[in-house]
């Protein structure tokens, strides 16, 4: 951590640069903007601490809700406050509700999803497969409609569901078992992956989720397991199963010959597993090959040239014993007897689910999701121990999440993470009270759904769009690059300007009606001052009124008027208000405070959204 003096010096340097940027009429050769200039030698400045003491923290309830939901809202906060007499008591009650999502009535979200008119989301895997076969190559957008609808439905749930912790955690598991949603073969099967392989197990059991994801067509295609047969096992799935889904690269020892020798067992570590067998702690390449053999014959019915497997409907999981490698195997030093058929794979999943390496890897990721980029070893180990002990419990993951969210580290830290672009968008739409139902569209109209998805893709985190199975990264280094942060700053203000139905059509209502909400809150015109209005929107978006963000937004909104002077948010242009700007008023003397005030309010709110306070977690 930098000292207070270093923090102050750093901040002073940044304020100077900020003023500099503000005063520049930029040309590409303005030397003051050069990436390499005096004082910069090529290495990023390591002075800045990740989360300095000087940072103003929002109050605890705001912090906890920000981290455990898809975005803080004042209405969430109001409901939260009613749950008990102290924050800790409220939090325990809130967690109890959220960790039991079936008991949370979610009618508003359900209605919105119903209103979207999705047609593919409730289809079984067999039905999705049949639809895909029927479409074939004849109509791309029809073929890919299932993933397009899943993308939209997921956005709706993240914005509107009351089961917020469930949605946050579902996102985590989609990253962990990352599948590229737009794969030509797997994409049409994606609703089954989301609905049957991920969601039922979010607060459930890891072992169950592991096997469910394996057996899902989307994952089978992603990692080529569907074509893995005896004699020619495909190692792609087995490698990622070990490296990404369970043990993790942290437990990878590379190519080691004779890994089960006495010497190597000591070198790589070993432990006694649940049934008394001695297993290796670290995995080697041979384990990958052997695991591939153990899973040979695990496939999707009718996904290969040899057609349907037994009576398994096409598109559903099938185990093909005739294509299973029945010979002995050795995985993590455990001996697999021959001719065990499908039990080989089941045993493999058991092994991996109760392996302490898996517990540590997964617990570490969960802590990094909820608490910070660098969680303490103590917290990770505590979560790992619980994960490991409860490996057969049907509510294992619920328990682990609860431990993490009840930890001091979760409760007392702030600014140890930043919002990734998808979270920025969703949390903005939540806090802004958006009325937005994303739906796929195949017309020539440029819809707000299309614009939102396109801009989110440009910012680097379109849903289900990461091409590799390791999932979107989850740390500030990745998401604070100029590309992704810049495109996020571009996306957020645009949310205030987008229209229903046709995104650039002024005749349509906004997806976010800030004017209406502001007027509804400040019914008395005399109260509509810059100080009040910006204060209100800071509360809505940030749960606090931090400086310098608040003052910057106030000063921008009030212009030359006093912060306590009422502003006109109702008079609009002579075009019937279709421009939603307010009134042009650039006449001297300087009355910018009366110039396009309605539009200026939207810009001011956009500024708050582009502040570090909004992007911090």
């Amino acid at each position: 951590m930098a000292t207070a003096a270093a923090s102050a010096a750093f901040a002073a340097k940044r304020r100077f640069f900020g003023a500099l940027l503000a005063s520049i009429s930029a040309s590409p050769t303005d030397p003051r903007l050069s990436m390499r200039r005096t004082g910069r030698d090529g290495l990023r400045d390591d002075d800045a601490p990740a989360s300095p003491d000087a940072l103003t923290f929002p109050i605890p309830s705001v912090r906890w809700l920000s981290r455990a939901t898809c975005g803080f809202t004042t209405s969430d906060h109001g409901a939260f406050t009613a749950l008990g007499a102290t924050d800790d008591a409220r939090w325990t009650a809130w967690l109890a509700q959220q960790l039991d999502p079936a008991t949370i009535v979610d009618s508003a979200c359900d209605s919105r999803i119903a209103s979207a008119g999705f047609t593919t989301l409730n289809k079984t895997a067999a039905q999705l497969w049949a639809a895909r076969e029927a479409v074939g190559d004849s109509n791309y957008s029809l073929r890919m409609l299932p993933i397009a609808e899943t993308e939209c439905a997921t956005l709706i749930r993240r914005i509107y569901s009351k089961r917020q912790l469930f949605e946050v955690t579902a996102e985590f598991w989609h990253d962990h078992f990352s599948v590229f949603g737009w794969d030509y073969d797997g994409g049409p099967m994606f609703p089954a992956f989301d609905r049957d392989a991920i969601r039922p197990h979010v607060f459930g059991n890891f072992r169950a989720m592991l096997q469910a994801t394996c057996e899902s067509a989307s994952m089978m295609y992603m990692l080529d397991l569907y074509s893995s047969v005896a004699g020619h096992p495909n190692e792609n799935y087995a490698r990622e199963l070990l490296e990404l889904h369970t043990l993790g690269a942290e437990n990878y020892a590379g190519i080691v010959s004779n890994p089960d020798s006495f010497a190597n067992m000591n070198l790589l570590g070993h432990f006694t597993s649940w049934d008394g067998e001695e297993e290796r702690l670290k995995y080697v390449d041979d384990d990958v090959y052997e695991a591939a053999r153990a899973l040979s014959g695990w496939t999707i019915s009718d996904s290969n040239w040899w057609g349907q497997i037994g009576s398994a409907p096409p598109g559903t999981f099938a185990y093909d014993d005739t294509r299973h490698d029945q010979s002995t195997k050795h995985i993590l030093a455990r001996y697999f007897t021959p001719y065990q058929g499908q039990a080989d794979g089941a045993l493999l999943f058991d092994m991996l689910a109760q392996h302490p390496g898996t517990a540590h890897f997964v617990a570490g990721k969960l802590c990094r999701r909820f608490v910070g980029d660098l969680p303490s070893n103590a917290l990770v180990q505590a979560a790992a121990d619980l994960f490991h002990q409860q490996w057969q419990a049907p509510d294992q993951l619920r328990q682990v999440i609860e431990l993490i969210l009840q930890s001091d580290e979760f409760k007392t830290t702030w600014g140890t993470k930043m919002k990734r672009p998808a979270t920025s968008v969703v949390s903005a739409l939540r806090a802004l009270g958006a009325d937005f139902t994303p739906v796929p569209d195949n017309s020539t109209t440029y819809t707000p759904t299309e614009e939102l998805i396109s801009r989110l893709q440009a910012a680097g985190q379109r849903l289900f769009y990461w091409p590799a199975p390791n999932g979107y990264p989850d740390n500030q280094i990745a998401w604070s690059s100029t590309g992704t942060l810049g495109l996020t700053m571009k996306l957020l203000p645009r949310l205030l300007e987008m229209h229903q139905v046709e995104s650039y059509n002024n005749a349509q209502p906004f997806i976010v009606d800030v004017q209406g909400q502001t007027l509804a809150y400040f019914t008395n015109a005399a109260d509509r001052t810059a100080a009040n209005i910006i204060g209100y929107w800071c509360d809505r978006l940030l749960g606090q009124r931090p400086e310098p963000t608040r003052t910057i937004a106030v000063d921008f909104f009030r212009q030359e008027a006093a912060a306590t002077a009422p502003l006109d948010l109702t008079t609009d242009n002579t075009d019937g208000g279709a421009q939603h700007t307010g009134v042009w008023h650039l006449n001297p003397p300087n009355t910018l405070s009366q110039h396009y005030t309605i539009a200026r309010l939207r810009v001011a709110i956009g500024l708050i959204l582009c502040s570090p306070d909004f992007l911090r977690r």
């Binding site: 901040a11 090529g42 400045d45 601490p49 990958v288 440009a458 992704t484 300007e497």
Partner: protein
């Protein structure tokens, strides 16, 4: 205080590599150091990373006269590149290696002496070798032989490379998220698309400044938001706003008389519109534009993905040729890039632009049962540029069967990828500090791929950069 922290960091970085076992380096680290090299040039190095392990044996298969052809055909049936008939490989001057038929652009460049291939290239890490894409990519890009501390090799090159005191845009990482090779660099802007990289979404009435009316717009106001606290996030925000301001005056869209009169017009009729992987074409166009703008661009990293052909790789003798689609993106994109920069009206810019193409590892010699290939080891690298001793294949593959193969299955690595990059750094970039860019690397000697002057390889010591510093 800043200096001490960097010093300690650098010590940690280099000491760990020294501990890995290159004893002579331990003494060299503390030897009286050079100041920043006066030999530094303003060439540009563009590294194209083929993500997913490109199958070098299909890009550059053994040709008809090659002693490796028989073993190649024994191992490759459904993924085979034939030497006659439909989809026949393209012959290359002076070598029995041949080129995938859909790499016509690369072939032309090779025959003209501007492109060279290196076979049997790859990572020679301390034991163990890794077969994981992510780990192998990360190892290559951090360049410390395994592991890493969040600083890329390209970053260390830029730090030690003798850049002038003021360079508008020394480095670009094309993509949304900074590539590992440029991680930790304060010289680099990361962006996925030039034309997207601007702030223009506030309502038009309050977006930009209107000096005549004293109106300060939203874009300008954002700068002050990011100076309040000393955090990683705020620093990133400041860098981002600075980058946006730097590039704002540039129109990265293709030229269009009506909508983009200041847009970009490639020279020589270069066509960046690729049938597959169109984003790659656009990004190459952006890079060419930035080079022509004289922003001091010296280091670029750009990605082309989708090479992980475990299933259904295809072959050029049939209509399904997935791998060939990828090859066409690479070849057509690089050909457009070369044409554009070499046809530049005020002078052939390819004389000082150097492109290196590499991948994290190659693919197994024996194809698998899914008409695809699995992870392998030795691979092909490509060097492209006006200052390349092209029209040659460098390096060596002893055989494609039996004991000639690594572990009996993979093309062996006989040329360390660092050797190829180091030659570019020394002969083209004028930076001898290759042992700083690649801690733990030793024994460099040039292959002769690039034109330029040899310099004694060194390990840059930043402590002494400005003379001895007091605490």
């Amino acid at each position: 205080m800043t200096s001490i922290q960097r010093r300690d960091f650098l010590k940690g970085c280099c000491v760990s590599a020294v501990a890995a076992g290159s004893g002579s380096r331990a003494y060299a680290y503390f030897a009286p150091p050079p100041l920043l090299p006066a030999t530094a040039t303003n060439d540009t190095l563009v590294v194209v990373f083929l993500r997913g392990a490109m199958d070098g044996l299909s890009l550059l298969p053994p040709g008809a006269g090659s002693p490796l052809r028989t073993d190649y055909e024994a191992a490759r049936t459904n993924t085979r590149v034939p030497v006659s008939g439909t989809g026949a490989a393209l012959t290359l001057n002076g070598t029995t290696w041949a080129l995938h038929p859909r790499a016509t652009g690369l072939r032309n460049l090779y025959q003209a002496g501007h492109a060279a291939f290196v076979v049997g290239a790859g990572q020679v890490q301390p034991n163990p070798i890794v077969r994981s894409h992510f780990e192998a990519q990360s190892n290559l890009e951090f360049g410390v032989g395994g592991g890493g501390n969040g600083i890329g090799w390209m970053t260390r090159h830029l730090v030690s490379g003798g850049l002038p005191a003021n360079v508008p845009l020394p480095a670009v990482s094309m993509g949304s998220i900074t590539a590992n090779s440029l991680l930790g660099s304060s010289d680099a802007i990361t962006m996925n698309s030039g034309s997207d990289f601007r702030l223009d979404t506030f309502h038009w009435s309050w977006q930009n400044d209107d000096a005549a009316h004293g109106l300060v717009g939203g874009v300008n106001r954002m700068n002050a938001l990011w100076g309040g606290n000393a955090t990683l996030l705020e620093r990133a925000g400041m860098d981002t706003l600075g980058s946006l301001a730097l590039l704002r005056p540039i129109d990265f869209n293709p030229y269009d008389a009506a909508n983009h009169p200041n847009g970009y017009q490639p020279s020589g009729g270069a066509n960046y519109n690729l049938t597959y992987n169109s984003g790659f074409g656009s990004q190459l166009r952006n890079v060419a534009q930035m080079i022509k703008l004289n922003l001091g661009l010296r280091a670029v990293t750009i990605d082309l993905g989708n090479w992980d052909t475990h299933v259904g790789q295809g072959n050029p003798a049939q209509s399904y040729d997935w791998f060939g689609n990828q090859v066409s993106s690479l070849s057509d994109g690089l050909a457009a890039f070369y044409t554009d920069l070499s046809s530049n009206p005020s002078g052939n810019l390819m004389q000082r632009v150097n492109v290196l193409v590499l991948s994290e590892f190659g693919r197994r010699v024996l194809e698998n049962a899914d008409s695809g290939t699995d992870h392998g080891y030795g691979n092909v690298m490509i060097a492209l540029g006006g200052a390349v001793n092209g029209g040659s294949v460098y390096g060596n593959v002893a055989g494609l069967a039996g004991s000639a193969l690594y572990e009996g299955t993979d093309v062996a690595v006989t040329t360390d990828y660092r050797r190829v990059i180091s030659e570019a750094l020394i002969r083209r970039m004028g930076n001898p500090n290759i042992y700083y860019a690649f801690p733990g690397y030793s024994g460099y000697s040039p292959l002769g791929i690039f034109q330029g002057t040899d310099l004694p390889p060194a390990n840059f010591d930043q402590i002494f950069r400005n003379g001895f510093e007091t605490a």
